[in-house]
Symmetry: C2
Subunit: 338 residues, 2 copies
Amino acid sequence: MKQYRVGLVGIGAVGTEMVKVLRQRKFPASEIRILARSERDEVVAGETFRVREANPEAFDGLDFVLFAGTEGSKGASKLFGWEAVKRGCVVIDNGDDFRMDPRVPLVIPEINGAALDHHQGFIANPNCSTIITLMALAPLHQAVRIKRFVACTYQSVSGAGRAAIDELEQQVKTWCGGGKPEAKAFPHQIAFNLIPQIGSPKADMPGFTTEEAKMLFETRKILDAPEIRVAATCVRVPVMYAHSVAVHIEFAGPLSPELARKILAQAPGVQLLDDLATGQYPMPLAFQHTDDTGVGRIRADVSVEHGLALFAVGDNIRKGAALNAVQIAEEMIRRKLV
Amino acid sequence: MKQYRVGLVGIGAVGTEMVKVLRQRKFPASEIRILARSERDEVVAGETFRVREANPEAFDGLDFVLFAGTEGSKGASKLFGWEAVKRGCVVIDNGDDFRMDPRVPLVIPEINGAALDHHQGFIANPNCSTIITLMALAPLHQAVRIKRFVACTYQSVSGAGRAAIDELEQQVKTWCGGGKPEAKAFPHQIAFNLIPQIGSPKADMPGFTTEEAKMLFETRKILDAPEIRVAATCVRVPVMYAHSVAVHIEFAGPLSPELARKILAQAPGVQLLDDLATGQYPMPLAFQHTDDTGVGRIRADVSVEHGLALFAVGDNIRKGAALNAVQIAEEMIRRKLV
């Protein structure tokens, strides 16, 4: 079996998980080369790596480069992304700088792997909440076209990186000790609280955040459905891992809850968990550190024609980021694109 | 000033808060008579009360009786509610047994106080999430009719009573000590988790919970708008006090975010807190133990005709229960109905 040399830029929460996922899935990697700001030895996911400094030459000889930057942590892929492509690498970028670039396929392999066929060396990994939402919605959209959906998210702190995970942990410990929690990674205390802002104000959509805008624009690009209408409210919750989303969907025609369940039970990467009577539905604690997107609470939304509501949960660091990026690499191999 | 004899049945989280609210607002009470399962001395909100056993005779001579039972904790108002009315009391019931009873006004004083005028002695306090949602929506509905809204809630554990508050606290402390949290009050761990089920499966609305159905039916009754369409997803979050709700509204005509802000800035019981650029929006920690409903994140929802989205937060134990019940009593006095 052919082996590939894999570069990885950034070793925060997502980069670390990428190493884990590559190993767990036995990705055919003859080399994992970690690049970061400065050279040093570092233990990542239980392995010691000689971290190399990210500079143009450091990308030479790599087949894949995964940029692990989380949303908003600009920099590496902007600086080195297309340079790496020039040097012969296929870039898979977790950041949000190039997702809407027409040269860049925006891919969830289970949904639009075919978008990779005409790639130009640079692929983007979608936003974590968008991935988890579309894992549930795309199989239904394939059966009956979605006209509009409203998505209200319940997003874990890990979406904001390792400092945010540490902060929730520290705030809870401070609270347990009777102290007053301090906020640094987030603008407000997150322990025992909610923050109804993720990302920054979106310049051309008054009142919306960048995170909420992504749900709209990335959905249209991934589903290749420029007419789809999306409204999102994105909220940070005091959960460590796994994002959840309550979705109220309007279809172009009838789609019964029974048929929706049947479709989702067979959808790759989806775990149907839907029996309210026995308390079966997806929850963050049950889906953290796992690969599948859980879907439940499927019901007819009779407040609108052809309405359906559901609740979806997926690990934002895995399917929402690291796993999806590695799956893109695997899909490119499967399609003989590398 | 005329004084009233006030009975209070149940001294859980809501009952205790009712005593606090009565004292804080200097309600003209010549007597606060606490009734419960068994006779005993008990300190409630810093005062020692001789708790009397709830039986028919115990209601004699009372002007108001507040039933403090939380949702689903059936019993007292079913057993004694109409009996107390017969004995000359005005009953204000926090439970959900009689809310849809046509003899019973369902009242949020700021919104439909006039519904009290033809009361038959028995008044119902609406569901906590419904109160908080309608505090934000009713003033807008008065300006431009609401056709439909989607409400996704983020409900604090205190909505499930004192045992639930203790459970989140205990689970967090166990987690801090390195132990494994246990769930008893909730069917699943709530610390660092979400539970997308509040209430039980609603018999005649497949897939919906009783809590989600309340948002629909109570909204119609309170707004006297039987044609309004409502879809809700109700989710428990690891927050101690204050419920939050993300609402996506469809109006019958245009209503700009600017006008919505103007209306809400003047609405009684509402605190407008809406400047995304400077991180101003309501959050549970800021609104716990307070009276106002905070509203922010107001924006045009362009995914639908005449759409508007907002985020509302209110203390479910105060405005969502105890405060609203005491306000009902005050409103009846103001209207000279007692």
